[in-house]
Subunit: 446 residues, 2 copies
Amino acid sequence: MVFESKIREMKTSFLLEMAKFTRHVEKIVQEDPRRVIHSLKVGFALTLVSLLYYLQPLYKSFGISAMWAIITVLLVFEFSAGATIGKCLNRGLATLVASALALGALHLASIPGKHVEPILIGMFVFVQAVASTFIRFLPKVKASYDYGMLIFILTFCLVSISGIRTNEIFELACMRILTIFIGGSTSVIVSILVYPVWAGEDLHKLVAQNIEKLGKFLEAFADEFSNKSSSVAESQNDGLFLSGLNSVLDSKNNEETLANFASWEPRHGQFAYRYPWKQYLKIGNLTRQCACRLEALGGYLNSKIQAPEETNGTIQEALSEMSSESGKALKQLARAIETMTRPLSPNLRVENLKIELKNQKSLLKSNGYLLQAIPVAVVASLLIDIAICVENIEEAINELASCAKFKSLDPNGVGEESKKEYRIDILVNESSVANQEAQSSVQARS
Amino acid sequence: MVFESKIREMKTSFLLEMAKFTRHVEKIVQEDPRRVIHSLKVGFALTLVSLLYYLQPLYKSFGISAMWAIITVLLVFEFSAGATIGKCLNRGLATLVASALALGALHLASIPGKHVEPILIGMFVFVQAVASTFIRFLPKVKASYDYGMLIFILTFCLVSISGIRTNEIFELACMRILTIFIGGSTSVIVSILVYPVWAGEDLHKLVAQNIEKLGKFLEAFADEFSNKSSSVAESQNDGLFLSGLNSVLDSKNNEETLANFASWEPRHGQFAYRYPWKQYLKIGNLTRQCACRLEALGGYLNSKIQAPEETNGTIQEALSEMSSESGKALKQLARAIETMTRPLSPNLRVENLKIELKNQKSLLKSNGYLLQAIPVAVVASLLIDIAICVENIEEAINELASCAKFKSLDPNGVGEESKKEYRIDILVNESSVANQEAQSSVQARS
């Protein structure tokens, strides 16, 4: 009986573990369903090159060199088409060059005589390995050709060392290059033709999403600052939006990898060959700079800042308006990237806020309010900083739009959004003296 | 004559290119001289395993399987000992498990008969490749066992597919495992015994350096804020310190990689086995949070903020003091990590500044100064935020100190630094009412 209950216990714990694992797998699939397709693609490409082994006539011509086709597929087949193409080209070129050099080295070493040959080959291998390993540290090489350098060392060593032991080294090298070519081209063709994953498209979406996250954060901040949102929704949102900010701050590495892969990709969808991917990195850096400021602002999210009572909440309203305007501008920019249209100039009048503040100053007569007013002033100042960040992002996106030839929107079909901006413009012009003053102080700061 | 001058031209441009390349190489060596040693180590390990080919008796027993020793050295020999050990263990274990499974699969497939065997093997290979490729997406697997999974797929495919064509598959698998073991152990031994590079030590130094960079930035800010530094030095420093901040903000990926490698390393130097490397990541995250605030503060570095004249620069002095105190505290914490001593509680009274501000308020009587005072207030508020960041960093370092059993300093040998803090303490106690008020507002914010 004890034994039986033990078995039952083990069974339950096993089932629990399995359920946990299943949930884990489900989550990964939901995050990106293309992962399942990628796994199937790898299996398919592998099965294709295995035919070199399975089918008698093919095996007769390739022999065990067919192994290299399988190794190549497994090593170069990456998630995105760009990464696969990059690795393939790296592998192919490195194998060709290294084989040629190794054959040359073998010929050189054979001149003095049979006894010296292994010693000379050993020296060649040592010098080449040391030099190539060092070259891998060069930043440019590390970024795009690291895999190629590795294959270069590997091939040079294998060909030149095998050369000591066999006389058919030339045939061996040719056969190996041929099978690597078969494996590589199979990988590239499957990767591009069957549900392709483009690194460039991913980068494009990632950059747009990050900007949108900042926009959402600013809008949520505006809601909270003017006490519109309920307290339950708040605490949920806080964590959500702050974690969104963190994911933006941590995206640098991901963006750089994607941009590197994207540079290997051919023309696809709306992305031409030689598309200005570097500009995305610039936009990404500016987005992170803005996210940094938002993080600083996030510290005030739960503070329930109260402006001095005499202002009747008008300052708060103005700041909230400011925040939501910045947020809207960011979301508009994100949409512009997503739809690849030239951004409407959001024409965001950040100085608006400064005028508001100036108008309120009569309400802050007594100096006792100064300390109370500080957090408000800080929020105001951070928001101005953020607005400047938004302008910088906009500039960078405009640059992208002109490099990548985004389509222009019909200026007649602009709609509500621009009307509102017009209203703000008028507001600003009415108090243009105050505005100029404010502007000059912003310029002095930035 | 034309031909001669062309040749001379080409010679000069070639020499110029060479000089450029040499400077580039020199820079890389200067950045980290261990790179040269690493290259020599790779060459040495490679020459060692090549002996399997060069020496007749060894070649007689291993044959072309010796190739796998060379491949293993080139693929597992990484810059740090931790990475090398991790890859070695991954490769060894994956090869063992995959070989065993593939032999089992071959046996299973041979039961129904010769004609069905290739089809069954093909199915096994496909299913295994799809499943394993998917498992590589699991975050935990991706972090530590990605290379192992790749080798698992590779070995399973090679062994089971070769099995169709040869009957000596068991001997082949054994020989391959043996040569991989020889290559792997050579790599690990050379990596650990010849000028080892420990990822853990690098992580330790990186985290300490990053904190020190922030400290230096705050001290430079203090100097500039109180107009101590000359304008020539300023513009140089700005770029230097801001780029320092950027390198701190971008270090997340590097830290995570190093922590992962460090977890594979055996006891070395002052770092025990199972050293709390994760705590470094926590400190690193807090450091980056602080760097974010500093970046926001950096916007005010060139602004020549002038507090209202009536204050005679006392506010500026107070803020400058505050900044330099925070900077000193950070540098002290960085030293504590570097020397692995428990940090002296910096006992930093950030509220000090708030009191100062309160004392100054009588000087800001006329409300006309409010707008002028805003940048000062922002800087003050950011500095308070930064001080809170510093406290969080200190807490995390204290946690590390207790986890990693840092040595304690003799409390009698504390010296000047703590006396100064004592002075601040008294200052704070004198105006404790104001202090409590300030504290409560900080708590509400954080």
